[in-house]
């Protein structure tokens, strides 16, 4: 095993200009496969979801899944693409056991959607337009297990085992045009593009796009050309990069590796490479077969897809607000910075905050609870924010109790803790734990008097004008009321009683 030479990222960018192409495969969330009625549900027994069509048995005939086509059109429209008025499927022939048919049904020179773009927003707010070459329909392959080699790798395996449950699940492959001009921000653009695409797919409701489950996978094509030149260099294709962070790391690694090869006078080999999560490196896979080796030809068993313009317009009318537009709208409504909005997005809190606001909370309070106490808990428990056992309606109720002065923040945190512990909804927890702000002015006044009497020296300082010292008395009162007083009101009372202006 040779250690791959790298040059520093800065040195690489000082000499070379990166050009990227991103290919993203999205598994659609249809109930059935693309060309047969087999279920796509996860977790089935091996080979329990196959039929003569997806096994490629003689005499079987494929029929296209209408929802698969509809999803493809929606994705195309959301990516600002032209939708073909007539297109065909094609057979991509290759000899590999992950497809029992010995070909993958795909689209070749007639994709259903083409020539679009997606605007992506970088963390500092800069918008970068990524042009889309095409989005086409195809099918997923079966799952191989390699037996007998080192650590389950295909190299050196004695034999392989195939489960075809996944073979035939609808995939949409989305291919960008060469992404030029991103310069040192290329890895960041790659990550932002995949993130935006994932949000878009989720907003369209065509797939859950969970990268960790392989429902969305990215291939990163990258080449370098000397700064100031036009001609693209030879590219490498890093396959199956399956998290947002990995997309960024893979692009960065390849920039550094290409630069090292080129600057030492070497040549980049056009090949596929594998990405390694552990150290962010890539290693060579097979040398890429030329496109004509796939011997594409129109699929004779499927008739052309010719979406009527009426259907396309109907689908266009159902498109949701684009995620980036929605985020910017919410950002303004909530009055938060680009950076804060990015954190909210990364935390998976956008929809939760929206739902909490819809349930009556004000945006600042909704954001405070989800991004503070609750984000901390989710992090501690290693779960997603949305998976916490508390609903936006419950969070809104807590916020309402705080706004009404029935709870202070400290008590509110205890209420949330109680809800998370399964003690019931916020009102039940307040009731059971006896968590109410002491708003009885009489009781509060007595507590304040006692605190003043017990801390005469501090009280004198305050009388003498050292208003800041009031904090100590507030603390004493809060302690005496076991935290169930409104701290701001306590402070007012203290200053009032000592005859000092706040």
């Amino acid at each position: 095993m040779t250690v791959t030479d790298l040059v520093s990222y800065e040195d690489a960018l000082a000499a070379y200009d990166p050009v990227m192409g991103l290919e993203v495969h999205v598994e659609l969330g249809t109930k059935t496969k693309m060309f047969c009625g087999c279920s796509t549900a996860l977790g089935a027994d091996a080979n329990a979801q196959t039929c003569p069509t997806c096994l490629g048995l003689p005499g079987s005939l494929p029929v296209v899944n209408a929802t698969g086509v509809e999803s493809a059109i929606k994705i195309g429209l959301a990516l600002n693409c032209t939708i073909a008025d007539w297109c065909r499927f094609a057979r991509k022939n290759y000899f590999y056991p992950d497809m029992p048919k010995n070909f993958q049904t795909s689209q070749y020179d007639e994709p259903i959607a083409f020539d679009g773009y997606l605007d992506v927003q970088l963390e500092d707010g800069e918008v970068f337009r990524v042009h889309i070459e095409r989005a086409h329909m195809e099918e997923d392959t079966g799952k191989s297990t390699h037996v007998g080699g080192a650590t389950g790798r295909i190299h050196g395996a004695r034999h392989s085992l195939l489960d075809y449950n996944r073979a035939g699940i609808p995939l949409i492959e989305i291919v960008t045009k060469p992404i030029e001009g991103a310069g040192e921000r290329a890895p960041e653009v790659a990550k932002a593009y995949v993130a935006e695409l994932r949000e878009l797919i989720k907003a369209l409701g065509v797939s859950e796009a969970r990268m960790e489950q392989g429902q969305m996978r990215c291939d990163v094509n990258l080449s370098l050309r000397p700064n100031g030149t036009e001609k693209f260099g030879t590219r490498s294709e890093t396959k199956n990069v399956n998290s947002l962070r990995s997309v960024e790391r893979a692009a960065r690694f390849e920039i550094q590796r290409h630069a090292a090869v080129l600057s030492s006078g070497g040549k980049i080999v056009q090949e596929t490479r594998h990405f390694h999560e552990e150290d962010g490196s890539t290693t060579p896979g097979r040398i890429k077969e030329e496109a004509e080796d796939y011997r594409y030809f129109p699929e004779p068993d499927l008739v052309p897809v010719a979406p009527s313009r009426e259907w396309v317009e109907e689908l266009r009318a159902t498109l949701p607000e684009l995620p980036r537009v929605r985020r910017n709208r919410l950002r303004e409504e909530w009055g938060v910075s680009e950076h804060d909005m990015q954190s909210i997005l990364n935390a998976g809190a956008v929809d939760l905050i929206v739902a909490t606001v819809e349930a009556g909370a004000d945006a600042a309070a909704a954001r405070k609870w989800w991004m503070g106490e609750l984000a901390r808990r989710a992090n501690e428990d290693g779960v997603e924010l949305a998976a916490l056992p508390i609903t936006p309606v419950q969070v809104a109720r807590v916020a309402e109790l705080v706004a009404k002065g029935d709870l202070n923040d400290k008590l509110a945190r205890q209420v949330i803790e109680g809800v998370l512990a399964g003690e019931g909804d916020p009102d039940t927890v307040v009731e059971k734990r006896g968590l109410k702000v002491v708003s009885d002015e009489g009781a509060l006044g007595t507590a304040v008097d006692e605190a003043i009497a017990a801390n005469a020296a501090i009280a004198d300082k305050i009388r003498g004008g050292k208003v800041a010292a009031a904090g100590a008395l507030v603390g004493a009162v809060m302690k005496a009321t076991r935290g169930q007083a409104d701290a701001a009101r306590v402070r007012e009372l203290i200053l009032e009683k000592l005859g000092v202006e706040g």
Binding site: C36, N47, I154, P304
Partner: protein
């Protein structure tokens, strides 16, 4: 009319994982050349305004609703497999050592 060369036949044979002897390559190159020549005559008679046909039927948009239909049982699915293991199709080594 460009035909098919012996090298192209050898390349196709490799892609299809067919082992052809030297004399078979010559034999098939000649035969395939004849076939391609015959098919090529179709484009001579077709005018520019006749699009290439991939389907004999004037049909488009044959689709089915996204409704689950029964699959084969794993036993049925594997019944024709030459070899199986762990309810999966067992296939020979795909790649050798690097």
């Amino acid at each position: 009319m460009p035909g098919i060369t012996r090298e192209e036949v050898a390349h196709l044979a490799r892609l299809a994982r067919l082992e052809l002897k030297d004399e078979e390559l010559d034999h098939f190159a000649t035969q395939l050349d004849d076939i391609i020549g015959a098919v090529a005559r179709v484009s001579e008679v077709a005018d520019q305004d006749v699009p290439p046909t991939s389907h004999p039927l004037p049909l488009t948009n044959v689709m089915r609703p996204d409704e689950v239909r029964p699959s084969l049982t794993p036993e049925q699915a594997l019944s024709g497999a030459p070899a199986q293991e762990q309810q999966r199709f067992k296939v020979p080594q795909i790649l050798g050592e690097e």
